[in-house]
Amino acid sequence: MFLYSLTIQPPTAVTQALLGQFSGTKEQQILTASGSRLTLLQPDPRQGKVNTLLSHDIFGIVRAIASFRLAGSHKDYIILATDSGRITIIEYLPKTNKFQRIHLETFGKSGVRRVIPGQYLAADPKGRACLISSLEKNKLVYVLNRNSQAELTISSPLEAHKPGVLVLSLVALDVGYANPVFAALELDYTDADQDPTGQAREEVETQLVYYELDLGLNHVVRKWSDTVDRTSSLLFQVPGGNDGPSGVLVCGEENVTYRHSNQEAFRVPIPRRSGATEDPQRKRVIVSGVMHKLKGSAGAFFFLLQTDDGDLFKVTIDMIEDSDGNPTGEVKRLKIKYFDTIPVATSLCILKSGFLFAASEFGNHHFYQFEKLGDDDEELEFSSDDFPTDPTASYNPVYFHPRPLENLVLVESIDSMNPQVDCKVANLTGEDAPQIYSVCGSGARSTFRMLKHGLEVSEIVASELPGTPSAVWTTKLTKYDQYDAYIVLSFTNGTLVLSIGETVEEVSDSGFLTTAPTLAVQQMGEDGLIQVHPKGIRHIVQGRVNEWPAPQHRSIVAATANENQVVIALSSGEIVYFEMDSDGSLAEYDEKKEMSGTVTSLSVGQVPEGLKRSSFLAVGCDDCTVRILSLEPDSTLEMKSIQALTAAPSALSIMSMEDSFGGSTLYLHIGLHSGVYLRTVLDEVTGELTDTRQKFLGPKPTKLFQVSVQDQPCVLALSSRPWLGYTDPITKGFMMTPLSYTELEYGWNFSSEQCLEGMVGIHANYLRSVFPHSLGVHFASNDDKRESYAFGIFSIEKLGDNMIQKSIPLTYTPKRLIKHPEQPYFYTIESDNNTLPPELRAKLLEQQTNGDATILPPEDFGYPRAKGRWASCISIIDPISEEPRVLQRIDLDNNEAAVSAAIVPFASQEGESFLVVGTGKDMVLNPRQFTEGYIHVYRFHEDGRDLEFIHKTRVEEPPMALIPFQGRLLAGVGKTLRIYDLGLKQLLRKAQADVTPTLIVSLQSQGNRIIVGDLQQGITYVVYKAEGNRLIPFVDDTLNRWTSCTTMVDYDSVAGGDKFGNIYIVRCPERVSQETDEPGSEIHLMHARNYLHGTPNRLSLQVHFYTQDLPTSICKTSLVVGGQDVLLWSGLQGTVGVFIPFVSREDVDFFQNLENHMRAEDPPLAGRDHLIYRGYYTPVKGVIDGDLCERFSLLPNDKKQMIAGELDRSVREIERKISDIRTRSAF
């Protein structure tokens, strides 16, 4: 078995975000590390948006990133600490939009290990050195410098190892131009390891240690260390040199302490939230923060530190002033005050332009603008003067009142599916392709999301039209116009001309023939207009009309035109060619060319820049051919090439588009009557047609139009859905993506003052009755009859993102998502640990008498916490109604939390479906504890829109997996697999068996076979023998896999994911599979000898692949119309990926070869070996990495040629194969 792995949505969880001037200009960019990807974001302060510049998969785990700048330079370099055992320095090249590696220094083994540096990375603020450290023991310092050619150099590493030392946090100190110093927060366990009494363990103190790099002697010394608060876990750099006192802020449980080797300690507490539902004893810790230096005076800097609740505190340092009032660099006090509350972030970046980028730990990332800096507000400020510096001394805790944002304004929320907990694929909207439904987020910021393949379209104007228009054009009046002036609509019996301006009005003096339908409209020459209608061509120049009549008894059936040329096809199959003369009149070419069949479509293409004419004409005939005719003067209308098609062509378009070679290529786009779209390369010299790629767009004939989006020519293809063909701005690959818009009959480019790059389209079945007047566009045509046609003007803003997301807020962290078997409703179970359940919240609020009862929205402030309490609920979601929303929420009480759910049709109830939810009471996660478990049963009402609680059954453990099984319920309760039937008062136990060693976490079934996923021990196959009512495990796995999800690929094979990021397929041996299903094999199975403490047989591994992200769900589904089944998996960090099975051995060989060449020619940026990375835990088996293969199009041309030569194919052929395999099965 061979699979092709593709990522269709990259992970969106940000491990770390970094600010820098990576292009070498004044502009600041944000670099984020998410999973194995580095993404460069360009904030746009004017629009308040964040745009993606570049996303690069490094095929390795990014552990830490840092940036530095050499003295006197303007460009920031990037240091990467990854799992490659190497330190990498890269730079961003803005010209080619690429990352380039400058240095790669090996220091240790690969992989994420305890003593291999990579966990922490800090660069000296002056760019002279960097320190890379492991969690334990090892620290390496690299000296960075430049040589005489002004190139960046890196020294061999200097060691600062100390065995038995754990590092909690590490930063570089700002010391100006003195020797670079790094500060680490350390724990030393050497004494504790030697002391059997356990006393030394109790006495382990957290140490703040300074490591100094002596640049003169070129070695590192442990310069200073001091004990800090035991609970300290995070350090922040305090500006030094001329800007401030240097040193660090040490953040621990409820305190922020300023420390430096030559200064006093200053300590402020972290204020606690006050409020009716808050626990007044709970201490906060700082989880992230940022330091920002303001321009101007020395000492003007502040910190924004964030607590685990998400509250931001502004921390400032006062310095002692000298006689002139200038700060001396000696600290006087530390101050803290409440700033604002935003979601908990992994990284915060403050931009010079006054924005804050918050990379949220869970949920959407946010981009804020600073309104003010909280300087003169009424918030209480707490100063270190009032608090003891000794961490053990007692003090009075301080409190504050959280409030809605005051200093920050949210300007953009960037969609992020992290964490993605579960995912289902279903087609609920009745479109061609199914949608992906997933639940993600945590706490009150949880969401249910609908993911659809398509481009987001913003509709600018939509308006009803009288009659049934068949086509629409827009046209300028003269060559020099910037915007379109007319919209021309063609009806079966006439033409309507509208002018575009403040209002859209009918034009009567346009010179157009309005009593006949129109076939083509084109602005020609300096100031002429062409209208082609069935009976002739009308040339309008400055109000004068020249008419060319069609020959008698013949009419025009197809026409095409550009600025200089007009070609028409007559009903007799003749083609007539006109060219613009130098005097601005149309000249007919003497000869007519007769085609063998009826002409269905024509295309002449744009006049290439600097030339007089387009040299090719494409003619499509109903005998299923396309011919290319020459339009050159010496060979006019001579045939250049011909291509046979599978159906009659319905539309043609010659246009040049950007290609992956860095230039542009002339393409012939062909739309067929069968709904297939083809793109062929049209040789600019010979007119040969080569390299055809095709895609099925829908069951209707395809129409094609050239439009312009983001200054690039794109093709708008209309079938049963509108599609846009474009070149992806980052990968430069050709993409064909559906538009999220109604079915269009006709479309055209549209450009006006309000909408520079839009499209106009006609669509039928227009149901909405209101259209926006926002842009001042009104229709003067006073037809008040309700017709069923309309036209819309719309534009596409982002080409990069081809997935549309819609989200519905949920209440708590979702745990499972299930779909109603017949109805379009979803059910989620949600639960939050250590959260105050609603009934207790209400009780506390009632008790509160003294007016302090403002309830803050939990989406922004989170739920109040309470140790050991659970808040949990079941939600019914209606995703496809006009207003997608949660229909009903059932809160669980009694400190129960839902852990599993299933919809079970019970045979004993005549197949009526019930919702079954497994819960656990008083659960403690680590180590696993609970008092008891329950299984709740709910009956559906109103087709599933409503739930009625029936009864609950007590079980000894929280059931972690539930599925329907032969009209009964199959539950995994602890290690026990059990079959239940529905009784009147509770569930009735029918059969049970202990089948796995640890804990059943997933179940699947087909026929009598049950697939059991164990928390720790992988997959076990169990057979249910109805005769003896027995459950018998018969085959299990050879490896301990920490199962996170499973699905059956076929009767014998199971695909699963584990917690370490692997996806695998295992298969039951054929003989064993047959034996178990034989009737009467029960006795034999029961008495088979166990093999090595497991079942009698073992599964064989078919496929294994490391995905980096943690798979949370996997399913077998098809994603495109007529596509084959693929395995779709969702990852915790927001990844959605697919595994596409290969059909032919030939393709496997080709892609294997290509993958090998790619590994050699495009080695991963951070120096990780690709093969070893994909075989992180177990060697990769049976999977070809499509993400690596798709990087082929980004290679420089010479490398492409070389690989193509080695593979004995052309570059185009390789690119086609890569794009085919994707488009055939996925987006």
Binding site: V112, E136, L168, L1110
Partner: protein, 99 residues
């Protein structure tokens, strides 16, 4: 033929490895040492793999930074204090009563 020098060299090589790579075993590795080492490795691995850490953080409903710090602190002595050395055992005490 194994000479004494060879043995010595092997011994030195092993010691060098043990110093460089923490947790490299030797014939006298005790069960406590082994377990402590495995636990420390496990915690370090969870902290080092971002998806694993956020998986835990999500389940516990805590920020990852807090979970990370807690796990690193757990590395101090994941299996409790070492067993007393030979000859230094305290008088037999009832462990259960203590805990």
């Amino acid at each position: 033929m194994v000479t004494l020098a060879d043995k010595l060299r092997t011994q030195q090589e092993l010691e060098r490895l043990q110093a460089k790579y923490i947790g490299t075993g030797h014939p006298d590795t005790t069960s406590w040492e082994w377990k402590t080492n495995i636990h420390r490795d496990t915690y370090a691995s969870i902290v080092g793999h971002p998806p694993l850490l956020s998986y835990m953080a999500l389940a516990e409903n805590e920020p990852a930074a807090k979970v990370r710090a807690r796990l690193i602190r757990k590395m101090l002595q994941p299996m409790g204090p070492p067993p007393p050395r030979e000859g230094e055992e305290p008088m037999l005490v009832d462990r259960k009563a203590d805990s």
